[in-house]
């Protein structure tokens, strides 16, 4: 069965398109789940789904948004399937201290923790924009939001981060 040429082509296509994305997908899943073990589970399951659904990917150039969508859905499914409770953010920070810590620059570690504590609705578009380089329109498509809603979330996300880094309470936003 492994000698099937069609299957070998499929394996080559998957390896060329999807495997190189794994590091970015892991980081994306980590910032979604804020849990390294969960992020690895999510990406592994997403890879399996991608393998099964590879024939539905019409345009190879769209593989990254396609995979990100699978990861987002898999993350949501994982929470639903495992009935995970929303964890206390202090416990999450403590559990992932080794990932958040850096010996390079204290400011980076502080920013990581501030980002960790940011609400999901603000953190996700910010990760898509800053880490993955998505445009506002691409984020809107990915999250199923209007362009205006994405701009508002990005604006407020930065306000909240600035307030957190300055040691202030939550800012009011106009």
């Amino acid at each position: 069965m492994n000698d099937d040429p069609a299957r070998r082509d499929r394996q080559r296509r998957f390896a060329a398109l999807c495997e190189p994305l794994r590091p970015d997908l892991l980081r994306f899943a980590f910032w979604l789940a804020r849990d390294r073990a969960l992020a690895e589970d999510v990406v592994q399951d997403a890879m399996l789904r991608a393998w099964k659904a590879l024939d539905s990917l019409d345009d190879d150039a769209r593989v990254k948004p396609w995979m990100l969508t699978i990861v987002r859905r898999e993350h949501a499914r994982t929470f639903e399937r495992k009935r995970l409770e929303v964890a206390d953010v202090d416990a999450l920070v403590e559990a992932e201290a080794s990932v958040l810590a850096t010996d390079e620059d204290a400011a980076v570690a502080e920013m990581r923790e501030a980002l960790f504590r940011l609400e999901d609705d603000y953190r996700e578009p910010l990760v898509l924009q800053v880490m993955l380089g998505h445009s506002t329109d691409e984020i809107a498509m990915q999250l199923g939001l209007t362009r205006g809603a994405v701009l508002t979330r990005l604006f407020r996300a930065r306000q909240k981060l600035r307030a957190a880094l300055a040691g202030e309470g939550p800012e009011t936003t106009s």
Binding site: R27, L100, D105, V130, M131, T152, L154, F155, R162, A166
Partner: protein
């Protein structure tokens, strides 16, 4: 575009290529500085998001991780408490400088107004003739926005951070990762000067400290 519209747009898209943003920025130094700050924050944010991941090492399961982290945490904390010195301010400064490599390569003397703009909110000014400044921004450091300059001295380029929020009792000097850093007490907080292969960095740092005027 007015200031409010500008700030809303760059607050969501700090690196926008919108010509209206560029037009407003050119005529409004305060908004330009605001955008610079947001861009600096985004650069830091980008670094923060690049969490390290060691391929091939499976993540521990939740309960294993919790148990292991409890035991390891106690051991590590005890070890650190007993033996590991806290990172010094000078080493933090070197860490910051290593993440701003673009600052070192900036060429060309900045106009005095641009240098003054970076220093203004810290209540400091650089005396005329204090050296050629090739980089002047405000950066996130230790939860504060601080002036970050690169000054071309006779001994070579040095990075200067004015740390108005950090008092130090005495001068410190460290050499780390190819950089040298000197932190001196200043009339307001402290001043850090960092260089690579700069002869007499301590003396250079004192000259720079003398070249800064502070508001009363």
């Amino acid at each position: 575009m007015n200031c409010l519209e500008f700030r809303r747009q760059v607050g969501a898209e700090p690196f926008t290529a919108d010509p209206a943003v560029a037009g407003h920025r050119a005529g409004c130094p305060a908004c330009a500085r605001h955008q610079d700050e947001l861009q600096a924050m985004d650069r830091l944010l980008g670094k923060a998001m690049q969490v390290g991941w060691v391929p091939g090492i499976p993540a521990p399961r939740r309960w294993v991780a919790m148990a292991a982290s409890l035991v390891a945490g106690v051991l590590v904390a005890a070890t650190l408490w007993l033996s590991w010195p806290a990172p010094t301010l000078a080493s933090e400064v070197i860490g910051h400088v290593m993440h701003e490599p673009g600052a070192w390569s900036a060429a060309g003397e900045l106009p005095p107004a641009e240098v003054a703009e970076a220093l203004d909110s810290s209540g400091a000014r650089l005396r005329p003739g204090s050296g050629t400044v090739t980089f002047a921004k405000r950066c996130f450091f230790d939860r504060h926005w601080v002036p970050h300059l690169v000054v071309q001295t006779e001994s070579g380029p040095v990075t200067v951070l004015l740390l108005g929020h950090r008092d130090v009792a005495a001068a410190t000097h460290i050499d780390d990762q190819g950089f040298s850093a000197v932190v001196l007490p200043a009339p307001r907080g402290s001043i850090a000067v960092v260089g690579q292969n700069v002869a007499g960095l301590d003396a250079v740092a004192r000259q720079i400290l003398d070249a800064v005027e502070w508001d009363a």
